[in-house]
């Protein structure tokens, strides 16, 4: 039997343990142990999940735990996972462990750094396993302020501006989510425990009045959308990612943006399917704009971190496109894209961080010829880039392909147009990725001092291998992930098809 609360407790306890440490060695040891334990428990969770499903357990959510929290509001501590949540938990644990490894040499206020990083991961785990909307919102907000401090204290460049922008925009997102959730709460019918309900599974059984859905869906969707760079609220992404320290960038792009995508699916689409159908065209338009705009904006960037940040806007657009298309395959693709992009972008930021640490620049025109000097880092960098442009065999191809397949199942002309435009963006992606890769690792060595650089240290190698393993596991044998996600996507699509059939 698997206790999901462990996933919240572990990072919190590790974070507190880090605070009690005295020396740098202790801090590192505790942080690494904690992150490894998280990683192990997420693997155990995956195995336990498979075992339950193999034993024929058909429940929508497994390993549920529920306690009353605020009885008067009918707020409960309620956790549980389906395959989709298991996949997100896995992603989180991979990125956190890699993040801790990459920031091994943080020596400016290391205690606070690891404390905040681990605290942040508690927020992400809690969010993914929550089955109560209040809890979900609690963890969503929990994962914002540590980012402000991480960027503000350990960041680079215009860090104070970026940190403030990120914090305010994300909190604005959660303010919208709050309004939507409050409206949803008062639109719910009575359950055995109270006049209204925050419980995700209960609300899914109810028929929320159409008027309430139409009113509050935009709040919830836009709110979560801000987290996952919904156009035109994506402006925090480039600034935030480029100013953040490496581990925070990995976390931001790898997990934080997925909170938004997951919320859009789990809360907005699942609980308000009629409104999701009604608003789907708008979502598709905004997602397509994000994909194309993100891709072209990336072409103009000369800073590696900005390149990856803008390409994240474009890639997260695929997630929203998949959600907007509202077919079973597209939802599957959206979740796969979240996982794939999470791993890929974390790897990309890790590689950029390693290069930056050595060369002290991220500008394309100053870098060059690094493949000869730092072969390991450069290879990782190239693989991350190829994954980003969707090379078969790596996870990006699988995810994007699934989204396109799902999108094509909608037969309207406008759906087709959006799909074709989104597909076309891959060409642009290829342009900027190949250009970045070529300028950075190929060609002549631009600065003679580069020849003295060291290749990756053990911690960096481990982080890269960890993320690479994930990318390859999805890229080469994608069906395990697909089978993991599919039951969850089926349940969401059942809601949506009910909504469509009523129309």
């Amino acid at each position: 039997m698997m206790s999901l609360s462990l996933l919240i407790l572990l990072p919190v306890l590790t974070a507190l343990a880090v605070l009690c440490c005295r020396s740098l060695q202790q801090i590192r040891a505790v942080a690494l142990t904690g992150a490894s334990l998280q990683w192990l428990s997420s693997i155990v969770l995956l195995l336990a999940y498979w075992k339950e499903r193999a034993a024929g357990n058909q429940d929508a959510m497994l390993f549920r735990e529920g306690y009353v929290w605020f009885a008067s509001f009918n707020i409960n501590y309620h956790v549980g996972v389906d395959g989709m949540a298991v996949a997100m938990v896995l992603l989180t644990s991979f990125v956190v462990l890699a993040g801790v490894l990459v920031s091994w040499h943080t020596d400016y206020r290391p205690k606070e750094f690891f404390f905040l990083l681990l605290f942040l991961s508690a927020g992400a785990y809690g969010f993914f396993i929550s089955l109560d909307l209040f809890m979900l919102f609690f963890f969503l907000e929990l994962a914002v302020i540590p980012k402000f401090l991480l960027i503000g204290i350990w960041g680079s460049g215009n860090k104070e501006y970026s940190a403030m922008k990120l914090a305010l925009m994300l909190m604005a997102g959660s303010a919208l989510v709050f309004t939507g959730l409050a409206g949803l709460y008062f639109a719910t019918a009575a359950t055995g425990r109270g006049p209204h309900s925050f419980d995700l599974m209960d609300i899914a059984q109810m028929q929320i009045p159409l008027q309430a859905q139409l009113l509050f869906f935009p709040f919830v969707f836009t709110g979560f959308g801000i987290f996952s760079a919904l156009f035109p609220f994506h402006t925090w992404v480039p600034d935030g990612h480029s100013s953040a320290p490496t581990a925070a960038s990995m976390f931001l792009a790898g997990i934080s943006m997925k909170l938004g995508g997951y919320g859009c699916i789990r809360v907005a689409t699942y609980l308000m399917p009629d409104a999701a159908v009604a608003y789907a065209p708008y979502i598709i338009v905004l997602a397509t704009i994000a994909i194309i705009y993100g891709a072209f904006a990336t072409m103009m960037q000369t800073d590696l971190k900005y390149i990856n940040a803008y390409s994240s806007v474009s890639h997260c657009g695929f997630v929203l496109l998949g959600i907007g298309m509202l077919t079973n395959t597209a939802i599957n693709g959206a979740v796969m894209q979240m996982i794939s992009h999470g791993l890929m972008t974390a790897l990309f930021f890790a590689a950029i961080g390693m290069l930056y640490q050595r060369t002290h620049t991220r500008m394309l025109d100053k870098l060059g010829g690094l493949l000869k000097i730092t072969p390991f880092i450069s290879t990782v960098f190239v693989i991350a880039g190829l994954c980003s442009l969707g090379l078969p065999g790596l996870s990006g191809f699988v995810a994007e392909m699934t989204v396109f397949m799902g999108a094509w199942q909608n037969s309207g002309h406008w759906y087709r147009l959006a799909t074709i435009l989104a597909c076309a963006s891959i060409v642009v992606t290829a342009v900027y990725i190949l250009r970045a890769v070529a300028q950075t690792v190929l060609g002549p060595v631009t600065d003679p001092s580069y020849t003295r650089l060291n290749d990756a240290a053990w911690n960096e190698k481990m982080a890269a291998v960890l993320l690479l393993a994930g990318i390859l596991a999805i890229g080469i044998i994608p069906f395990w992930l697909q089978q993991l996600i599919a039951p969850g996507a089926d349940i969401i699509m059942q809601q949506v098809s009910k909504a469509i059939s009523i129309k």
């Binding site: 929290w69 605020f70 009885a71 008067s72 509001f73 707020i75 209040f134 919102f137 609690f138 963890f139 907000e141 929990l142 914002v144 302020i145 402000f148 401090l149 503000g152 204290i153 104070e160 940190a163 403030m164 914090a167 305010l168 909190m171 604005a172 303010a175 919208l176 709050f178 309004t179 409050a182 409206g183 709460y185 008062f186 009113l215």
Partner: protein, 470 residues
Amino acid sequence: MNDFFLLAKQELALVLIIFLLLIIKVGSKEWENPRVLGLINLLLLLNFATGFIYQQEGILFNEMFHTSKLIIIEKNILNAGTLIVSWLAFDWLKQQQHVIEFYVLLLTTLLGMQLMISAGNLLMFYLSLEMASIPLAALANFDLQKRQSAEAAMKFIISSAFSSGLLLFGISFIYGTTGTLVFTELPQQLQSTPLQLFALVLVMAGFAFKISVVPFHLWTADVYQGSPVAVTAYLSVVSKGAAVFAFINVLYTVLQPLAASWYPVICVLSVATMCIGNLFALKQTNIKRLLAFSSITQAGFILVGISGSSQTGMATVLYFVLVYLFSNLGIFTVVALVSAHTGKEEVADYKGFYGTNPVLSWVMALSIFSLAGIPPAAGFFGKFFLLMAGAGKGNYVLVVIAALNMIVSLYYYLLVVKTVFIDKHAQAPVDAIKVKSYPALALIICSAGVLTLGLASQVYEYIFSISQGM
């Protein structure tokens, strides 16, 4: 007779302490400050403890005074606030000559506030309100050497007299049209006649002054800035809390028949208070002024909860005041320590503060996050519930405006966090402050309160169980 001693126990305890202090003062023996302070803090602790015995409802003096579990817990909150203020001001009070006078004035206002909450008659209500206000002006003037302090006192007494005048004017109209001043008889007599609505406006204006609601907030910033930190803390937490309690009690019971009239007024006042409080807070460079405007904004949020006019509304407002007390006093403890040790009160003085005072910085950050409504601090739960109470009425415009105002307030709260944690001081940051005895206790209690009040649901559930709606 037994009833008298038991029902009015909290007031009687305060009266006893006040007399004891006066006796010590007139006595021939000169007491040293630390000894007096030790004694007073012990007495205040005992006074706080009296609130936990004999929790019964009752009426005294021909309905002049009434009490219930809800009122007892409201008084407990005020007592706790006063106790923490007394702790956090320890370092400052040690340097003062007139410690006993300070406490006599402080406890007199507290007594006034408690009687105000317990009042069952408008006359009694008005008298206790005055008793709570006038000594506060003397307290605001307690920094005898500072001209600003005198200015603060002057501003406070004038605006307070003006608002009392409005209130009294309103009360006289109510008496004129209904022929009674008793709370329990008034609801049957109020029928929304034009004169009664005029009276309602006047009464609400009077209250609005006390809780510094826009457009009656103009005194707040200057008085907060000029007063000694301890008095500012007391004004912003205990005094405001008492006014909020009295306001919600009066609105939900006496003025209940006029609910259709006061609901839109509350909504408009709430929006104006949140927006204007926030806009002015953005520009402040003095930490006390910043906290003054932040407390104005918080009053706007409280009004959102009050607009809920339900059991939830009552419970969330009480809970929020409790949470606000711990959060605000946490940050005021730090400000008081820095002010008492260095005399610095500008936000910019806190640059590099984390480098020298990490523990104080974390307490400050925790309190600020709680004020801004960031989990896991209790302020998150407080704000969430307040807005839920407001949303219960179906007025989502108000909720959206409140939610967006939280973002604006987050900006200036984060600026303080940024100053403390990120900025580097050009010359020398504030030296490391040794925190001893009572202020340390205040820091621990406030932080513990901020961390536990939200995550542990029992406090809110208890308050909810004894609250009542309209």
